[in-house]
């Protein structure tokens, strides 16, 4: 770095200062370093507010998980670990390219800066593409926040639902078409600068659909491999034992409660029977047997008027996949990952701004602050995902 002997170009004195002020140095700063340090302090303070902002959601997560661990275990099975892991890798790689971009800007490697920024943007788009597959898949299954949740274990893939994936992809498709048109226009009109900006941006927009394709391959691969296991098992294997345990506890307590939960069992029995016909589904089979025994033990003679109220309470306690309990998990899931995705979108916005400035060769070793600040923000977004991924996707 010491070999580079690029001194900042001395700009004309706009503000009546009697000392040299390079064009990138705001007039209220004495030196580029002072400007850099002030900006850096500012961005760190902003990151503090971001940490505190996300801590509210992590707190909500902690409370609900502490109160209803079985809901989180049951519902986490619906999250595709493969997609989450791929997204983690993509985000980590984007962090690498972002840190590399800061290095390029410090060393005045303008081509490298454009390349690394474009790579970071592409990774962000791939991340969103995979996320689009995850979201649209869950929307279609009715795995929605509390209030909208309509997942039905006996019919996990209702055929009639709006084309959510198309809705999510539409704005990105519009952006892709727009950027491609711009690319062609700038090439024809001979606008070199615009062409240089549109070229990486068209790759970036295309990467969203690379992400969608990647997500589709991973999602469909898992589905065709064991269709029943992916979507029905969480309800059978993971949540049925939980149901049994709590129901048994309730059975020891009061008879009306049993009768009511017996009714609950009969609702799910149809599904469980279908599942139990699969010889590999040992867990479900034994769960079904247990349920049958329990229903027999409970009998139907003890149903009383009070049973209904009690039953309602018991059912909320017992069945993990009811709209109220599972819906809360998916509320937290959509809130946390959705706000994280909004941060990715905001990051894409500022990265595009950086890309334009990088093509313009605005940055030098005295003025690389914006790249560094956006980098810090981007790493924070990565940091949050580092915690989100195991907390949401990797619950046993």
């Amino acid at each position: 770095m010491s070999t580079i002997e690029a001194s900042p170009e001395v700009g004309h004195d706009e503000h009546g200062h009697d000392h040299d002020h390079p064009p990138f140095l705001a007039h209220h700063f004495d030196t580029p370093e002072q400007q850099f340090d002030s900006g850096k302090l500012g961005i760190w303070l902003f990151l503090v507010t971001e940490v505190l902002f996300f801590s509210g959601m992590f707190c909500a997560y902690a409370i609900f998980r502490a109160l209803r661990p079985e809901v989180f275990e049951g519902c986490s099975q619906f999250l595709n670990t493969k997609l989450g892991a791929i997204n983690t890798g993509v985000l980590l790689f984007s962090s690498l390219t972002m840190a590399w971009a800061v290095r390029c800007s410090q060393l005045e490697q303008h081509k490298g800066l454009v390349g690394t920024l474009a790579a970071t943007l592409s990774c962000a788009m791939i991340f969103l593409g995979v996320k689009a597959i995850e979201y649209s898949h869950k929307f279609g299954m009715g795995l929605l926040p509390a209030g909208l949740f309509f997942y039905d274990p006996s019919n996990p893939h209702p055929t009639e639902h709006p084309p959510y994936l198309a809705y999510i992809c539409a704005p990105f498709a519009v952006a892709l078409v727009g950027v491609l048109c711009w690319l062609v226009f700038s090439a024809v009109a001979g606008k070199k600068f615009q062409f240089a900006v549109a070229k990486p941006l068209s790759v970036v927009c295309l990467c969203f659909f690379v992400g969608v394709g990647l997500g589709m391959v991973l999602e469909s691969g898992e589905e065709s491999a064991d269709h029943v296991d992916t979507h029905a098992d969480p309800n059978g294997l993971a949540t049925a034992p939980v149901m049994l345990e709590v129901e048994k506890a309730a059975a020891a307590e009061a008879a009306p409660a049993i009768a009511a939960s017996g009714a609950q069992v009969s609702v799910d029995e149809g599904v469980l029977e279908i599942l139990a016909t699969d010889p590999t589904n040992v867990g479900v089979k034994s769960g079904l047997n247990a349920l049958e025994q329990q229903t027999a033990a409970a009998g139907t003679s003890t149903v009383t008027g009070d049973g209904e109220i009690l039953g309602a309470i018991t059912t909320t306690e017992v069945d993990v996949m009811t709209p109220t309990t599972a819906g809360v998990f998916f509320s937290i899931y959509y809130c946390m990952t959705g706000i994280h995705a909004i941060h990715i979108l905001a990051g894409i916005g500022v990265l595009v701004w950086l890309l334009v400035r990088a093509v313009r060769q605005d940055f030098n070793r005295q003025y690389f602050g914006p790249v560094d600040y956006v980098g810090l923000y981007w790493h924070l977004v990565d940091l949050i995902w580092i915690y989100l991924f195991p907390l949401l996707y990797l619950i046993r």
Partner: protein, 134 residues
């Protein structure tokens, strides 16, 4: 890479270099370490650590976070004041989560009717009238 990125001399108007580019080797090493830790996190999910599972997962995530902060976010080369501010925020996050979670764990049960509390009320209504419980 020195621990102090800022200049010791006050006059760094021009010519002075306050940029401390990170070496490519360091960046790649950190990236591969992060990837390796991600693989470990995914792999450990298939083993049962029982109550330690959340602790294990959070420990690995924290190691990753420290790597990202120290190298990608240049915290090691940054001014210590910035690091103090940022890490200080986690102290407040800790206070926030611990107190709220503690409060929730101690009081939430009183807001939801329990089967074992209601069941005797159905079986033996006389007791509830004596207690005056609803």
């Amino acid at each position: 890479m020195s621990a102090h990125a800022h200049s010791d001399d006050g006059h760094s108007a021009d010519g002075h270099d306050f940029a401390h580019p990170m070496s490519v080797q360091t960046l790649l090493a950190v990236f591969f370490a992060l990837t390796f830790l991600t693989v470990i996190t995914v792999a450990q999910a298939s083993f049962d650590f029982g109550a330690f599972e959340v602790a294990t997962v959070m420990f690995i995530a924290t190691v990753k976070a420290v790597l990202v902060m120290a190298f990608f976010m240049h915290m090691l080369a940054d001014k210590p004041f910035n690091a103090i501010i940022f890490i200080g925020s986690f102290v407040f996050v800790g206070l926030f989560v611990i107190f709220t979670l503690g409060d929730s764990l101690m009081t939430s049960h009183s807001f939801e009717p329990k089967v074992e509390e209601l069941a005797p009320a159905v079986a033996e209504p006389t007791i509830t009238t004596v207690d005056g419980a609803p």
